[in-house]
């Protein structure tokens, strides 16, 4: 009995050594934004609280803004909000302003800080070219941004969602040039802005971004308009699958997919297919040439070359062979 009491007392005394925190004493952060202006770091925190209304709980987002001379100082400022400890373990998105991604050292320092501070790596990363304050004012809920990106991904294929872990893994891979999808605000409306390569001033437009995603098998469908006899038809490429290979100093790219269009008359199909294949081949070739010229690779091509030959010197001199195999949806052949 005495032993049991002693153990109980020991447990009670040790209770103060643990990181105990009631769930209602936490400030749950849904999304953060990091920006640097004139040597001052601005940290935007989108805090979500559940409010009980009748028989359901509604989520309410509130944005807090703190600053600091360094990133650590800014996070320190935001350690407690409304006397509650800031909780990042359910963080959904980190929004980084483009000003922090131009310099390699700066963004690497930022990433290593985020890795240490936030522990988990499954939150989404986005780059914003417009001031983050306006983003947070108009879209404090990460789901709005996420839904926008998903919609753009499905319709135009010019953007995708990337997690911190994925970007960090690409950054570590020497045969890969890491990038972030970029968005901007134009007259209070969200707009995709291609991708930004980390640690450089390079920026891809929407078309190049789409090709990069396509060759990385990150998009499976997208839509575009094609003019036929002064009329524009909406064409959708779906079930896209890209196969990459390297043989005899040539990158062999095979793309399979399906074409569909609700408005297009059947007799125009052949013409549209040829036009689509011609345009896509041209875009891919231009894209690869551009990357080869800069000796950068946002697709698995350089990685493939290294895997096949154990060296990447031949990257810039390699040729490209593109094979497209599309079929109209509903056709048996």
């Amino acid at each position: 009995m005495k032993r049991l009491l002693l153990i109980l007392l020991l447990f009670l005394f040790l209770g103060g050594c643990t990181d105990y925190n009631e769930v209602n004493n936490l400030t749950i952060v849904d999304m953060i934004g990091i920006e640097k202006q004139e040597d001052t770091y601005h940290l935007y925190l989108s805090v979500v609280t559940g409010e009980k209304e009748e028989n359901q709980t509604e989520n309410k987002h509130t944005v807090y803004h703190v600053t600091g001379k360094s990133l650590g100082e800014a996070f320190q400022e935001g350690e407690t909000i409304n006397n509650k400890r800031t909780y990042y373990n359910h963080l959904a998105m980190v929004f980084i302003h483009s000003s922090l991604l131009e310099n390699r050292e700066e963004y690497q320092e930022l990433f290593s800080f985020l890795k240490k501070k936030l522990e988990q790596g499954d939150y989404l990363l986005l780059e914003g070219t417009s001031p983050l304050a306006s983003f947070f004012e108009l879209y404090p809920n990460h789901e709005d941004l996420e839904n926008f990106i998903l919609k753009e991904k499905e319709t135009k294929g010019t953007t995708t969602l990337l997690t911190f872990d994925e970007v960090n893994a690409n950054d570590f891979d020497q045969e890969y040039d890491a990038y972030l999808p970029s968005i901007q605000l134009e007259e209070n409306t969200l707009k995709t802005n291609g991708i930004t390569l980390l640690g450089s001033n390079m920026h891809y437009d929407d078309t190049s971004s789409r090709i990069s995603y396509l060759l990385s098998n990150k998009i499976k469908e997208y839509s575009f308009l094609i003019p036929i006899e002064e009329k524009y038809y909406q064409i959708k490429l779906s079930d896209l699958h890209v196969n990459l290979d390297y043989q005899e100093n040539t990158f062999k790219i095979t793309i399979k997919g399906q074409l569909e269009s609700e408005e297009l008359p059947k007799e125009k199909r052949k013409e549209v297919q040829e036009e689509t294949e011609k345009n896509l081949t041209k875009e891919i070739k231009q894209f690869i040439e551009m990357e080869q010229e800069q000796n950068i690779s946002t697709t698995p091509l350089k990685n493939l070359l290294y895997f096949k030959t154990k060296k990447t010197e031949a990257y810039q001199k390699s040729k490209t062979n593109i094979t497209l195999s599309f079929a109209w949806k509903g056709d048996l052949s």
Binding site: F11, L12, L14, G15, T18, D19, Y20, N21, E22, V23, N24, L26, I28, V48, T49, G50, E51, K52, T57, N59, Y87, N89, H90, A92, Q120
Partner: protein, 476 residues
């Protein structure tokens, strides 16, 4: 007569001790009986009616009294202590000579008849249950096991209570060492009174077992009979409507009396439900506390927000809330059991309203805590054994404390403690977790799951050497 005076003195001249002298022929016969323990009508109709007609002489009085009076339990007594003992047992004494008496059983029926089991109700199966009469209880078991191998050994326990206690076992099935162990434990009892079979439990259970019950009590004769056929020992005590079954393993507490009257698939489902209820009863409140105080990252985002919203206005920590709810539930349960029948269900309704709606409206507790504690408490009531329900209660509190202090790590520590307790508990020196550990494959067919009866042909080898329970049916 000096014997009469000594008897009166021994009973402190109690008013319920009746002494009546009869002058019959040449002899004076004294009738001594305890008015409340004996049946007056039996004494009047069968003893006195015949007694007064006997041609008693000084030579033939002993023979006539012993042979003519109509009772098969007539005993000759020649010791004062014996006489006092038999008076207390409800015998009427005919003292015919100094220091000599004939004792005739005239026990009054002070029991309530055979009723229905109140704590172990079944859908199918018999509805009779034990009552406070030893002979009735023994009779109910013997009706089900009409075998000469069903042995009974009697003890009178308690210096003052001298309660008749019987150990029953199947001589051709049980292991002798188990019987000897039980007998040894009962013989060591040196106490003033044993008023109920429940008092015997602490003498039979091993001292190092402090958490889990190892002696099952039942009010059902069919369950007791089944236990005998498995090679277990049943203890019945006078004045107690509960029989004790030992050894009892952990899996026995997951069984219900209905298990032998339904299909195997149904029984398997129900046993697994009870096992699940066992785990829920212990871990759910602790898990909730751990997830809301230490390991919030394990909760889905929406659930986390929901919990946060519900607990916003609650001034207490999760542990205090849980303890408050648990203790309130126990108070409510206790008052429900003890309340007078005239009060009806008013107390239950009041308690439910107070604990439920009013406490939430006042912001003292969160709705989710009511759900958690209710699920846990109701799961704990899935067992028929009161001792197991108490064990679950203690384990629940331990898990809550560990969760509060260390989170999920504390829950795992508690789980290890639980497993360690289960594996180190013994019942009559047998491992409590048998047949899971040590693994007894044949016995697994009727432990956590139940297979068809045709596949369960052997008994537990830990309990018996006579393993064959069922043989192949012989073709005619």
């Amino acid at each position: 007569m000096e014997t009469i005076e000594k008897i009166k003195e021994a009973f402190g001249n109690a008013s319920d001790l009746i002494v009546r002298d009869f002058h019959i022929g040449e002899c004076t016969i004294y009738l001594v009986q305890n008015e409340v323990l004996c049946t007056s009508s039996f004494i009047n109709e069968y003893i006195l009616t015949r007694l007064t007609k006997l041609p008693l002489t000084k030579q033939n009085k002993e023979e006539l009294l012993y042979n003519v009076l109509p009772d098969n339990s007539v005993k000759k007594l020649d010791d004062l202590d014996q006489m006092l003992d038999f008076i207390c047992k409800g015998f009427a004494l005919l003292i015919y000579e100094e220091g000599k008496a004939i004792a005739i059983e005239a026990k009054a029926s002070l029991d309530r008849g055979i009723g229905e089991a109140s704590n172990e109700s079944t859908i199918r199966g018999s509805k009779d249950s034990f009552n406070e009469n030893f002979n009735t209880n023994l009779g109910l078991i013997r009706r089900r096991i009409r075998s000469e191998h069903c042995f009974m050994e009697t003890y009178f326990l308690g210096k003052e209570s001298r309660v008749k206690t019987g150990i029953l076992y199947m001589n051709n099935i049980v292991l002798k060492e188990h019987v000897d162990t039980v007998k040894e434990k009962l013989e060591k009892i040196n106490v003033d009174g044993i008023l109920d079979s429940g008092s015997l439990k602490k003498y039979i259970e091993e001292k190092h077992n402090f958490l889990f019950p190892t002696v099952l009590s039942t009010e059902r004769p069919d369950r007791a009979a089944q236990a005998l056929l498995e090679g277990k020992i049943v203890i019945i005590a006078d004045n107690s409507p509960f029989a004790l079954i030992t050894p009892s393993f952990f899996v026995d507490y997951l069984h219900s009396p209905d298990d032998y009257y339904q299909r195997a698939s149904n029984i398997t489902f129900l046993r697994l439900i009870r096992l699940f209820a066992f785990l829920i009863a212990i871990f759910i409140p602790g898990l909730y506390i751990a997830l809301t105080t230490h390991n919030q990252d394990m909760l889905p985002f929406d659930l986390l927000l929901n919990f946060s919203a519900q607990r916003t206005s609650v001034p207490f920590s999760a542990l205090i809330e849980a303890l408050f709810m648990s203790i309130s539930f126990e108070i409510l349960r206790e008052s429900d059991i003890r309340k007078p029948a005239s009060m009806g269900s008013a107390v239950s309704i009041l308690g439910g309203l107070i604990l439920g709606d009013a406490a939430v409206s006042a912001g003292i507790i969160s709705p989710i805590m009511i759900i958690v504690i209710s699920i846990s408490a109701i799961s704990g009531l899935a067992f028929t054994s009161q001792e197991m329900i108490s064990t679950l209660r203690w384990l629940r509190f331990i898990m809550m404390l560990l969760a509060f202090l260390f989170g999920i790590f504390g829950i795992f520590c508690g789980l290890i403690f639980l497993l360690a307790s289960l594996t180190t508990t013994t019942t009559l020196n047998l491992p409590y977790l048998a047949p899971i550990t040590p693994l007894i494959k044949d016995e697994l067919k009727d432990s956590l799951i139940k297979m068809k009866s045709s596949k369960i042909r052997k008994r537990n080898p830990l309990l018996t050497k006579n393993k064959v329970r069922e043989r192949e049916a012989q073709e005619k």
